[in-house]
Each structure stands twice: as C-alpha cells, then as structure tokens.
C-alpha cells in the first residue's frame, strides 16, 4: 500500500489581475508551491473570454498542510471583503511524498 498523507487542496478562480496578490499570500502563508492555469468562463463578473489581456481568469491550485490553510483562507476572505469576485473551494486530498508539502517556498 502506498503511504498517502492527507493534505488540503485550495482552488481559487478569479481575474488574473490579482495574480501578484494571490501568489504573495500563498508564499506568506507557507505553502510549498502552487500551480497556476489560465482560465476562461463566465459568472458574476460577466464573460471572461480569455482572448484579451483584459478578460482573462486564472485558476490557482495550492496544496498545503491543514494547519496552514486557515491563514490562506483569511487572506482570500479579505480580498472578497474588498469587493473582488473570487471563487474559492477546498478539498481533502491525499499526497505521496508528503514531506515536500511541509517545506515552505524560499522567499
């Protein structure tokens, strides 16, 4: 049997102008890394076609230990409080080689 260890997966979908702030929060809260994809879709902000510089969304995935998640969620909540439209959801995942997820990124 593989040695799987539980972690939290936080997914954020929002406008790509927030990229710098999201990455800063991810680093500050001690995540070991992140994955960023360009996304398109539609929702409360209207159509995001992804064709132009100005209407592209991003999809950010971060896996981190459960005890570090709440700090990150606080930061995301603060952005929502400022009026930004963020879609945030959290899932339980199990990872191989969990030590990798314990090491914060070098800042």
């Amino acid at each position: 049997m593989h040695r799987l260890v539980p972690e939290k997966l936080v997914t954020v979908i929002t406008t790509d102008v927030l990229e710098h702030r999201l990455i800063a929060a991810v680093r500050r809260r001690g995540a070991s890394g992140y994955t960023l994809l360009r996304a398109r879709g539609a929702g409360s902000d209207g159509l995001q076609s992804g064709n132009l510089e100005i209407d592209t969304n991003l999809l950010l995935k971060v896996i981190l230990p459960p005890e570090r998640m709440s700090g990150l969620l606080d930061d995301l909540d603060a952005l929502i409080g400022q009026g930004y439209h963020l879609t945030v959801f959290v899932a339980d995942v199990a990872v191989l080689d969990h030590e990798k997820f314990e090491r914060p990124m070098e800042t």
């Binding site: 406008t15 102008v17 927030l18 360009r38 902000d45 209207g46 159509l47 076609s49 992804g50 064709n51 132009l52 510089e53 100005i54 209407d55 603060a78 409080g81 400022q82 009026g83 930004y84 439209h85």
Partner: protein, 336 residues
C-alpha cells in the same frame, strides 16, 4: 466622396466580418494569444513610425500636444461620470469605473482612423501619436479619485451596512498608479517611439517591410479579432440596458466634438490631425484601463465597462464615428 466611404476600407470590412461571424454563431476563433501578438505588432510599428517623424518635430508643439492630452484625459471622465449619474441606471462606483474608460483611448480605433485618412489621401500631423501614448493613463487617476469620492458617499448613505473598510480598493493606490503608468502597452508604444526617434535613419529603412508594407494586413487581422470580440460582447447589450447603451453612443460624440475643437483651435492641426484628436477624445480604452479598474474598483461590475467599451463604443467609432469626426474636422479646419 461619400461620407461613409470608410465602410469600404478592408480593415473595417474585416471588422464587420468578425462581428457577423459571431452573430451567425460561426465557429471562427483565433488562437488564444494571436490578438495579443497583433496588438504588440501594431503598437511597435506605429511607435517606430511616429518616432521617426517626431525626431523632426518641433519641441514646443509636441509639448502643447502632451499638455492637451493630459487635460483631455482628466476632463472627459468627469463629463462621463456626470452623464452616467444622470441616467440613474448605475451606482456611483460603476459610474466611476466606466467614466475612466472614456477618458482613455483605443489604439485600435486610432489605427483605423489612420487607415481611413490614408485611404482618402489626407495628410496628418504626427503629434496625435504622442497624445495616444499619453492619454492611456491620466483617466485612470481620475477614475481612482471618482471611485474614492463615491465610496465616501456610499458609506454615508448606508452606514448600517458596516463601516467602510479602510483597505477597500484604495489601499494599493500607489501600486495601481505605478501599474497604470508602466502598463505594457504604454511602455511598448513610448519605447518604440524613442527607438524610432534615435535610431540611425539608414538602419530604420531596413525595417520598412515590417513597419509599413505589412501594416494594413496586420490591422485587418487585428480588426477581424476585435469584430469577433465586439460581436461576443454585443450579446451582453441587453444586460447593460438602453440608457447605458445610449451613453456608449453619446459619450464618444461629446468626446469627439471636444477633441476636434482642441485639435484645431488649441493645437492648430489641419483636417487630418484634427480628425485624429477627435478620435482620441471619442474612443474608450480596452487596454490599460480595464485591468486598473479591476484592481482599484472591484465593486464595479466589469461586464458594464467591457460591454460599453468593446461592444458599443468601439464598433460605433470604427463604423460611424471616424467619418463623423472627419466631417466635423472639415467643418472646423476645412478652410485652413
């Protein structure tokens, strides 16, 4: 010469093709980054062109153009803000974000105007090009000021909804201003102008095929993509409603008239240059302003300002606006 002969410029016809393709639900679609590549090409090419010409320009006249570009960028959003509030269809913060777009400019509309002047064999001054580069940013500053004033008003009107958060939007004012003035398009346009101005003219000649020969073809492709984008936004027209839609048509006319007056009376341009300043006054940004408003005024709904700027004002200017501003310029500057 028909007043609407610009309808038969290939670039405008390609715009129409894109628009129609979207309306008939064609699966025509550009690869994701092509629009960005085309807009980089157009900015570099127009910047180089302008730079070569500006190297021969008069410093005093260039300075006057810069000052009037700043004034237009500051004045137009305030007019737009007042008009938007008069429609009573949008909140203060939405009005602030939309108004900022109308103080800024659209390089696509400007280039179409140059194609229009070229097709009619009309000469034009090069100073409007500096104005194009300058006018991307000041409207953002006005938008930020209008938004922070609006926030104060909103908080006063509805104190029960909790105290206004100190960090709301304005907390990163410095960052947003820096981003407004270092926006990629602005840097590219001004940088290319500098290169064009200081580069060895002999060496610049080797760029002729790049900056001149293929220019109109690239503009056709760009406008095809913008037509697709405008067609896609046009569907959202119902969501913005009649009053806002009307604003998207009236505001460019007001800006166009002001631009034409400034172009001839204040800057003393001929018909070509005056038309271009009219176009600058009339057009609404879809490059530098939307991301700045996204960051600075998150409470405003982006589908309002993107639909108005891309789906209403841009097509209106490309098809009807440019010949109208040209007629106005003829009226004002025709005798000169």
């Amino acid at each position: 010469m028909s007043a609407f002969s610009n309808l038969l410029i290939p670039a405008v016809l390609f715009f129409a093709l894109g628009f129609i393709a979207r309306l008939i639900k064609s699966d025509l679609r550009f690869p994701p980054d092509l629009a960005k590549i085309l807009s980089i090409y157009l900015l570099v090419s127009i910047g180089l062109h302008g730079g070569v010409e500006l190297a021969k320009a008069d410093l005093g006249e260039a300075l006057a153009a810069v000052i009037w570009a700043l004034l237009l960028g500051l004045l137009l959003p305030i007019i737009g803000f007042g008009l938007l509030l008069a429609t009573r269809r949008v909140g203060l913060l939405d009005a602030a974000a939309i108004a900022a777009h109308y103080g800024s400019v659209s390089a696509g509309t400007f280039l179409t105007a140059i194609a229009f002047l070229g097709s009619q064999g009309i000469e034009y001054e090069r100073y409007p090009l500096i104005m194009l580069a300058i006018m991307e940013s000041p409207a953002i500053v006005v938008g930020l000021l209008l938004a922070s004033w609006s926030r104060g008003r909103v908080a006063k009107a509805a104190p029960d909804r909790g105290a206004p958060r100190a960090d709301r939007g304005t907390g990163h004012m410095g960052d947003i201003l820096r981003e407004a003035f270092t926006n990629g398009s602005v840097v590219l346009l001004i940088g290319s102008m500098l290169i064009g101005a200081i580069a060895n003219p002999k060496a610049m000649e080797s760029l002729h095929p790049f900056t001149t020969d293929i220019f109109m073809g690239m503009l056709c492709l760009f406008l095809l993509e913008m037509g697709l984008e405008a067609g896609r936004r046009f569907g959202d027209f119902r969501r913005v409603g009649l009053a806002l839609g009307a604003f998207g048509l009236v505001m460019p006319l007001i800006g166009g008239v002001i631009g034409v007056l400034v172009g001839h009376l204040m800057l003393g341009f001929g018909v070509g240059g005056t038309t271009l300043v009219g176009v600058l006054g009339a057009s609404a940004s879809y490059i530098a302003v939307p991301p700045a408003m996204r960051l600075a005024v998150p409470e405003a709904n982006p589908s309002f300002y993107l639909t108005l700027s891309l789906g209403v004002t841009f097509p209106f200017n490309v098809v009807f606006g440019i010949p109208i501003y040209h007629q106005l310029a003829l009226l004002v500057a025709g005798g000169a």
